[in-house]
């Protein structure tokens, strides 16, 4: 279990969720407690006694995220309600405490996967592995970031019954917008079309790492696929895009094998896109300003489409339900090779290598960031 502790500490730093090793305490419990700390605080022991868990992370997020959370909890809410689709589906809401009281923290963690404590940071737990705690922590950072910027803009324009932001919130938003900008554009992916299975897996691995490295996706979200003849190679459900080897399913497009039981929950959206386009590669990430700008305006109805400049925005929930994005996304992809799903993320496709899809995914995010800044300016905030 010590390996897990080291792995997820390293991922927290690499993903920019904490600044350094001193900002995160990770604990994995089997019959003994494994941690990156020399000593175990009595509060931690008490949490393990009070909760039937095997993993716990206590972390102070890196300054940008922490200041966003600080601003969100300034008015003393007991809960933060995310507005993006994946957070609503998987973490529902985020409890908030002012100080680290063990009993109160245990009560909050008994109802939700993680919480924010104003004088401490984020605490998340898991009952299977440290990966759960890592995912919840990453999701809380993503959910609060998106909510913060989405609320500022919708509040300014009076959309979605969002309260108008106060001066302090606007000052803060203006101050942190520049450091929140997407990473400088760089496309490291090859233009060569992968041919053999080994080349396809290598290309998917490279594309996954590029998306994570460019901060175009968080935690275990996002998915990647590549079509080769009658086969589709697709990332497995819950796989981390920066750790894809061993987590890619190769499945027949015609559904003659059920090995896709472990494939991404967006498999059907990928399949339908391949069915109606000539594309052979799809990338799906959760670029933050793309998600934020998709929610700029009144909530989008299931059958409605709107645009961020020329990029279509469609509605649809995760997976294969009646209101699943598989019903709305493929048609939008057909005309543009890219679309943003309302409150969710961006899909981009191309033929040949992943180069073009990555280019679109990344440039849409830059376009959305510019659109956000322009919208702020238009509202008199600059």
């Amino acid at each position: 279990m010590q390996e897990q502790v080291e792995k997820y500490l390293s991922k927290l730093i690499r993903h920019g969720l904490v600044q350094g090793p001193d900002d995160a305490a990770l604990y994995g419990l089997d019959d003994e407690l494994y941690t990156n700390r020399h000593t175990v605080a009595p509060e931690v022991r008490a949490l393990f006694d009070l909760l039937n868990i095997n993993s716990l992370i206590i972390a102070r997020p890196e300054p940008l995220h922490w200041s966003i959370m600080g601003d969100l909890i300034r008015d003393d809410p007991s809960l933060i309600c995310p507005c993006d689709c994946e957070s609503l589906t998987f973490i529902h809401d985020i409890p908030v405490l002012r100080t680290f009281d063990v009993e109160a923290a245990a009560r909050a963690l008994s109802g939700r996967k993680g919480l924010i404590i104003a004088d401490t940071g984020i605490i998340t737990t898991g009952t299977v592995s440290l990966e759960q705690a890592f995912i919840s922590l990453s999701s809380i950072c993503f959910a609060t970031f998106v909510k913060y910027f989405a609320d500022v803009l919708n509040g300014l324009y009076g959309f979605a019954a969002t309260p108008k932001p106060g001066t302090a919130r606007l000052d803060a938003a203006r101050r942190i917008l520049a450091p929140a900008a997407p990473a400088a554009f760089y496309n490291p992916l090859s233009r060569e079309t992968p041919g053999t299975e080994a080349e396809i897996i290598q290309a998917m691995d490279a594309a996954g790492k590029a998306i994570v490295s460019a901060h175009l996706v968080d935690s275990f979200f996002g998915n990647i696929s590549c079509r080769k003849g009658d086969l589709i190679y697709i990332s497995q459900t819950g796989s981390s895009l920066d750790e894809l080897p061993g987590c890619i399913d190769c499945i027949p497009i015609d559904g003659s094998s059920t090995c896709d039981l472990t494939s991404s929950s967006e498999l059907l959206a990928h399949l339908k896109t391949y069915e109606i386009t000539d594309d052979s590669a799809i990338l799906h990430g959760h670029p933050r300003f793309s998600v934020i700008m998709s929610m700029f305006g009144e909530p989008l109805g299931f059958t409605e489409t709107r645009h961020i400049e020329d990029i279509p925005v469609v509605a649809g929930e995760v997976g294969a339900g009646r209101h699943g994005l598989m019903h709305t996304l493929p048609a939008a992809m057909a005309g543009h090779h890219a679309a943003v799903v309302y409150g969710h993320g961006t899909f981009a496709s191309c033929s040949g290598s992943f180069h073009g899809a990555f280019e679109r995914l990344s440039s849409i995010e830059h376009q959305c960031f510019d659109a956000y800044r322009s919208a702020l300016e238009k509202a008199g905030v600059s």
């Binding site: 008994s110 498999l267 997976g319």
Partner: protein
């Protein structure tokens, strides 16, 4: 009828078949709050008579619903049947689908406790508050479909036992509504030992009203959204569309499909009984338990067998004849016997004799068990007794005399541990590590590692004890989590239990089961796997090496599990440990 907020009084119907008395009573609310319902309350009731012989007149047979049964919370209308198992000697609770639980709830009962033995064979008819003891003179060897046909106009739910139960088959099942099996552990024999052919229940006078309807709706919507987001449930090959047959291709690809009585872990002809082949040849339609949006059950002109049955009548017996598998399954359902133990016992006999029973020969063996003739005389005793009587006890692939289902432990180490620690013998559902070791839910774990698995399995056992106690379905948890179900439970009952309150109750229920087994003589040696898994490799595949399990590592993990569970080094549980966990004491 609506219960008051937080009122956890359970309404029980106690039936003594010896005297033909039916007494309505209520269960101590503290017990209700501590054991919830379903498996928990069944275990609690069995703990008052821990040493009773499974087939004695005094042995109870308990049918219990969960507190969510009848609510709008999805996939929560499972019935739990509890008794001591005549096959294993352990506690023997078993979850079953259909509409039995909802009919019972609507009749106004949370549970029915049956004791005694009728002089004449009878059927118990419960029509709301009215209880009738109906003598019956149907032939003992009447197929179960005829029993269900006889009750078609009853418009309720029927649980019945078949010819196997009346011919001393130790793994006789109780069939519900003609399609759903309370299969494992031979609880059908317990029912037959009471001369009880069937229980027919019709309810219409009671409804479940949530204390907090808005909270109930929020929990329902959250759960449905998570079902939709889960590839294992609602995906293209999810169990909603394909049934559990969806697992066939995956288990073969992972090289963990038990083949030739577990001598191999890959069956070359697995496609003969894959979900794709079933779709082509049988054109199955969906069939659901009451109020379940998943609808994992599949029917064509015959029942489509579950994955475990397909795999064991298929790969375990090296049989690539789908028609024979479906017929073997039909015969088991008509006779009322557990398909897993039946198929595993035949595979065990085949290995001992150096033969293969496939196609019509396999079907003939099932007929022999159902008719208690020929090899059926031996096969109806289960593989452990059969192998012992034939001088080859090592050929029985069982733990505590319960045969392993269709997940080879050499390919899933958490499952290996869970087979050992399960309180009813080798069962995949007590901890269901397939969820994370194969289906990647809630996150993936390394299937070839014991790292961290001792606590993972302990927590999963606690979780599944809760699921079985609230009337929940294991498959729902391939999408949703206890977080959403705890919110639903609180909204429906008014009891403010959160996730970890419930897991604490699950810990207590599981430890009580282990304590009962301790009293019944079970020890560490009973938690070990058959030696084959420690000495023989499975079948390797592309990039997959299926080695024998390292016995030292397995035993070290078992030691850790005992420590975490609070057991002694020999796997036993003390009364003191049980008292420490009692939530009433801690509250």
């Amino acid at each position: 009828m609506q219960k008051k907020r937080g009122d956890f009084t359970l309404s029980a119907l106690s039936i003594d078949l010896s005297t033909r008395d039916a007494v309505r009573s209520t269960i101590d609310p503290e017990a209700g709050k501590t054991f919830l319902g379903g498996r928990g309350i069944g275990t609690w009731l069995l703990s008052s008579r821990p040493m009773v012989d499974a087939l004695s007149e005094d042995a109870p047979l308990i049918l219990s619903t969960g507190p969510l049964t009848g609510s709008r919370i999805p996939a929560s209308s499972r019935m739990m049947i509890s008794a001591f198992s005549p096959l294993t000697g352990t506690i023997g609770s078993c979850s079953v689908g259909g509409s039995l639980a909802i009919q019972m709830k609507r009749a106004g009962f949370d549970l029915i406790i049956i004791t005694g033995r009728s002089r004449l064979r009878l059927i118990l008819e419960i029509d709301n508050a009215r209880v009738r003891f109906v003598d019956e003179d149907m032939p003992v060897d009447l197929p179960l479909s005829s029993v269900f046909d006889a009750y078609r106009s009853f418009r309720g739910s029927v649980a019945a036992v078949g010819p196997a139960a009346f011919s001393d088959c130790t793994y006789a099942s109780i069939m519900v509504d003609g399609s759903f099996a309370c299969g494992r552990g031979g609880l059908g024999s317990v029912m037959a030992s009471k001369n009880l052919r069937a229980i027919a229940i019709r309810g219409s006078e009671h409804t479940v009203m949530a204390c907090d309807p808005d909270g109930e709706e929020t929990a329902r919507a959250d759960i449905i959204r998570l079902f939709d987001a889960s590839p294992a449930i609602m995906g293209r090959s999810g169990i909603s569309l394909c049934g559990t047959a969806a697992l066939v291709d995956l288990m073969a690809a992972r090289r963990m499909m038990p083949t030739a009585n577990f001598r191999r872990t890959y069956f070359e002809d697995y496609r003969a009984f894959s979900a794709g082949r079933i779709r082509e040849e049988q054109g199955p339609r969906q069939h659901a338990c009451h109020g379940c949006p998943i609808a994992c059950k599949k029917k064509a002109h015959s029942e489509i067998p579950e994955y475990e049955t397909l795999s064991h009548f298929g790969a375990l017996n090296e049989n690539a004849d789908l028609a024979a598998i479906i017929e073997a399954n039909r015969l088991c359902n008509e006779a009322g016997m557990d398909t897993v133990t039946a198929a595993a016992s035949i595979a065990c006999l085949a290995e001992i004799r150096g033969l293969r029973y496939t196609g019509t020969t396999l079907v003939d063996k099932v007929r022999e068990i159902a008719g208690a003739r020929g090899d059926g005389e031996l096969l109806r005793l289960g593989s452990a007794v059969l192998a012992r009587e034939l001088g080859a006890p090592e050929k029985s692939m069982s733990v505590k005399s319960l045969e392993l289902p269709a997940y080879d432990p050499r390919g899933v180490y958490g499952m290996a541990l869970a087979y050992g620690t399960s309180t009813r013998g080798a069962c995949h559902l007590r901890a269901y590590p397939i969820a994370h070791e194969i289906l990647r839910k809630p996150v993936a774990t390394d299937r070839f590692s014991f790292s961290g698995k001792a606590r993972i399995i302990k927590i999963a056992e606690d979780l599944n004890a809760v699921i079985d106690s609230i009337g929940g379905c294991k498959f729902a948890f391939l999408g949703a989590t206890l977080e959403e179900y705890a919110k639903g439970l609180a909204a429906v009952t008014g009891l403010a239990y959160d996730t970890h309150d419930l897991l604490r109750l699950g810990d207590h229920i599981y430890t009580l089961e282990r304590y009962i087994n301790t009293l019944r003589g079970f020890r560490r040696t009973d938690d070990l796997l058959p030696e084959r898994f420690f000495t023989e490799p499975g079948t390797h595949g592309p990039g997959i090496e299926v080695r024998p399990i390292d016995k030292t590592a397995f035993e070290a993990t078992l030691d850790r599990y005992y420590k975490i569970r609070g057991c002694n080094e020999d796997g036993t549980v003390t009364a003191e440990r049980l008292r420490e966990l009692n939530p009433c004491r801690n509250r």
